[in-house]
């Protein structure tokens, strides 16, 4: 019954280890890309939803609102499945790269797109919270100095808004790293799906010829440890920033 040593020996196997490590790398890359592009898309959505109030541009406000609410109120997995079927893959991407087969690259692209679309709606609401925390006097001050509305946004409002939402955005990075494990459902090559694949092939690596409970504990325990270390470091950073705010309070809305 003592198969724990056999299971642990799997992690010493260089093939298994490099397989897992590249899974970790992909998890991190997918999440970072999703948050980066999500921040760009989300900022545009937030600005449109907040400030397109004139009669001519109101249609864009409605579109942005619809986008945000639809993505926020439906599960990520649904969007992964939808992108799997409907999202077009550019020609340039349907070939071998990063040591993956062309099918894997396509899956990676479609899965990442679903994650980006989903994350951008969440980040849009975070950015909107940041925009709303900027005092109204800042707009008036900008106008009085002869700035145009676009200039006010770029030079005055957005920098303050971004500074106010740094902790929330970092928490969103944690959430995105966790959400990226949903991609394991369509066998995108990231940590979770690699662990799952390894479990189903554990009998070949652990030397006992069968899959045991200890394999589950070792493999999933390893993945849990990796996720935990990454996310705990990030959440500790969030707590540190919240405890030591470098933002002068005067510019945030107090009344």
């Amino acid at each position: 019954m003592n198969t724990l040593d056999n299971s642990l020996s799997m992690l010493g196997n260089p093939t298994v280890l490099s397989y897992l490590l590249s899974g970790i790398a992909f998890t991190l890359i997918i999440s970072m890309v999703a948050v980066a592009i999500g921040l760009l898309l989300g900022s545009i959505l937030a600005l449109v939803r907040n400030y397109c109030n004139s009669k001519r541009t109101r249609i864009f406000k409605w579109l942005a609102t619809a986008y945000i609410e639809i993505f926020r109120n439906t599960p990520l997995l649904l969007w992964i499945f939808i992108c799997l079927v409907f999202f077009p893959v550019p020609e340039a991407l349907s070939k071998k790269m990063f040591g993956l087969t062309s099918v894997e690259v396509k899956l990676l692209f479609k899965g990442s797109m679903a994650l980006i679309l989903f994350t951008s709606s969440v980040i849009a609401e975070i950015v909107r919270g940041g925009l709303n925390s900027v005092a109204h006097g800042q707009f008036e001050a900008g106008h009085s100095q002869g700035f145009s509305t676009v200039q006010i946004m770029i030079y005055i409002v957005l920098p303050q808004a971004y500074r106010n939402i740094v902790p929330t955005l970092l928490s969103q990075v944690i959430t995105t790293i966790k959400d990226s494990s949903y991609l394991a459902n369509i066998a995108v090559i990231e940590l979770m799906s690699r662990v799952k694949t390894l479990l189903s092939a554990a009998n070949r690596y652990n030397g006992t010829g069968s899959i045991n409970v200890s394999d589950v504990f070792v493999l999933f325990g390893f993945a849990a440890l990796i996720y935990f270390v990454i996310n705990f470091l990030l959440s500790s950073l969030v707590r540190y920033i919240q405890k030591h705010p470098r933002i002068p309070k005067a510019t945030t809305r107090t009344s």
Binding site: T74, P75, L76, L77, I174, K178, Y182, M192, R253
Partner: protein, 244 residues
Amino acid sequence: MEGLFSLEAWEKVWTFRSTFLLGLLNSGRMALFALLLSLVLGIIFGLMATSSKKILRGISRVYVELIQNTPLVLQLCFLYYALAFSGNSMGIIATGTISLGVYHGAYMSEVVRAGIGSIPKGQFEAADSQGFNYIGKMYYVILPQSIKIILPPMANQVVNLIKNTSCLYIIGGADLISVTYSFVTGATTGGAYAPAYLVSGLLFFIVCFPLSTLASTWENSLKKRESRTVETQNTLAEGMVAKQ
């Protein structure tokens, strides 16, 4: 967008409407029981996090950090496969309910902790001085005040919980999303992608949208009320300074 405008595909979805309803029922039932479990865990660990005993605070911290920093999909797989390979599998829905409840219990615990933490210390001392015991203090003095701070983020957690029922797919689940996916890829039912996804997305949206809108409206009105209180206090303080 194949099938979105084809009458045949829509008919197929309509014929198999009971499948979707069953998925919805499974998701709903699972969400309900997981919510109850998460509320119980959230209140217990939330109260532990605000207690004066260091060991209780520590236990609560470990639970919250361990759960919040690892993905739900991983926890679910862990529980499911550990049970399956040790020969005491207890069914997909039960496993899903437990791991969903434990996962969201950690978030509920943080919500409860923040709610209780926002009550001024004087309220605790006042309750103590009036001779309330711990339960009386919490029940009559602290919780009624913190409930309005707790409810909006809790509603958001309920939305997340309902959306997260979809994680059951990875262990071959019976929730709405899994049912939809096996419907569109099934041998006899396959092909009606667009209508099927639209229907199941719509079902989620109908349940989640009112809840998340309620939560954000609540939160905004709370913020407004708070800033009004601060304003009144400032005016009062100014008035007092003027009198002096």
